[in-house]
Amino acid sequence: MAEPRIMDIKDQPGFRSIAVICLLVLYTPVLILMVFSLNSGSLVTHWEGVTLNWYGSAFLNEEFHNAAKNTLIISVTATIVSTICATLAAIGMTRVKPWRGLAAAFMVINLPLMVPEIITAVATLSFFALIAGTLGLNFGIGNLILAHTVFCIPFAYMPIRARLEDMDLTLEYAAADLYATPWNAFKRITLPLLVPGIMSGAALAFIVSFDDFTITQLVAGPGQTTLPLYIWNQIRRPMTPEINAISTILLLVSILFVTVSFLIARRRAK
């Protein structure tokens, strides 16, 4: 008699149906898009049968190759650089006596999250145009890597910092008590404990870089097409299910990285 009453107090009428509707709304359009990537007809809206041809034609397409190559160069480099910077910054801002400017530094790190993406995009475009015009500097695809690194840092920083804050400090004190040098204590105690946070941060940095459209579109020079830009170029032509195939690949990459990051975080929570 007491059991159902306890379950009952948490219930609110209708909330279950709204939750289910939300899931349906979030997933139905994306699932339809994915299903149509297997359509054997050449129209994106009329179902004719199952085929994997569109994946085949995407993989054989040279433009797709170039876009995929550019995307990987940019997002892998941006992920590595931003994760290293974010790890160092997270240590420098948690394993430290509060220093003057700590609050300001925290704001700077999180700045890319607070500024709307379109503003960052036009600001970065103006910046690279200015240094190209006055100093003659153009880093080519490096421009995109730098732009991506900036907004990847806060995404990598968040899980790493959270991990450092959750960590049991007594282990580090114990290492210091046992005459470990700060570097040794870091290498043998802190770093191994921090690895899940770093991996989770790197996964998030990779996703946001891999998926970025707005900033890339404005900053990219000729020949610097990434996968999202490639999709955008395709939308403006008559569409074939090849676009669904490429979109599906992008979605699957995101799903893979989110799930990995989620599982790492969950193991930590356990």
Partner: protein, 315 residues
Amino acid sequence: MTTAALSPTTLSKAALFEAQAVKTSARRNRLLSLPALIIIGIFGVLPLIIICIYSFLVAAPYGGVQWQFSTDAYLNFLFQRDIFDDTLQFTPDFLIIYLRSFLFAVVTTIICLLLGFPTAYFMATRPPAQRNWWVLLITIPFWSNLLVRTLAIMFIIRDEGLINNALLALGVIDKPITMLYTNFAIQLGLLYAFLPFMVLPLYSSLEKLDFRLVEAAYDLYATRRQVLWRVIIPLSKPGIIAGCLLVFIPALGAYVTPLILGGGVHLMIGDLIAQQFGSGRNWPLGCAQALILMAAVLVALFFYVRNTSGKVQHG
């Protein structure tokens, strides 16, 4: 005796050593923030300063700027110079786009809250194992490619899209309803894009809800509705504010959604800004428009900070 003599000194020695080790490494540690701060400083903060400067310059004919001071960009935001008698005419075109975007963002925030709150509450009241699955299911769209998700919406609302095809086949309508490239399309796209941004912060606040308070309210003969409005919602206010902000700010500056679903006809602030750097070739105007958007965002953030800090003080 030995213990009595030894313990205070060893203890203090150990404490001293510990403090010393932590302190020296701590002082050096703060230098570790430098690489991140330098990268964001040069390639994130400096560009923002540059657009502040650019907004006070004159547009070069083929894009870019001429180094000549002018407040035309801000004047052009509200006025247009008459070509014949050189007087300023009030032209609210840009202002209307800003107000439209503001309305879109407000409606998006409200509907996301109405759908997101029950969802987040339902998630938070599931048993822990089930809860994880729900969180993963909401997290996946949160991190999925926005361009692709918007494309998915486009596919189903086009004239020859799934909805129209289904309605035609059922004989409900005899010619397709135009949904793409309308305000409705943009509104739908914004809701679809930002719903997960509302659910996740709400969830993390509702998850910590102390249900003993709910139980107490029921013991005091509160109805379900009273419990919801007078206990659960007030207790989850921080989550509600955070969620609204996470939806409102990106919705106000949305770029991809109106670009694809508005078809360049129904503009929002984001497209308007990008246009000045593309076909418009008026960089100073684009910079001024970006800064006016930034000001709106700062106002929203200011309310957020004031609301949350006030909350902490009152307990």
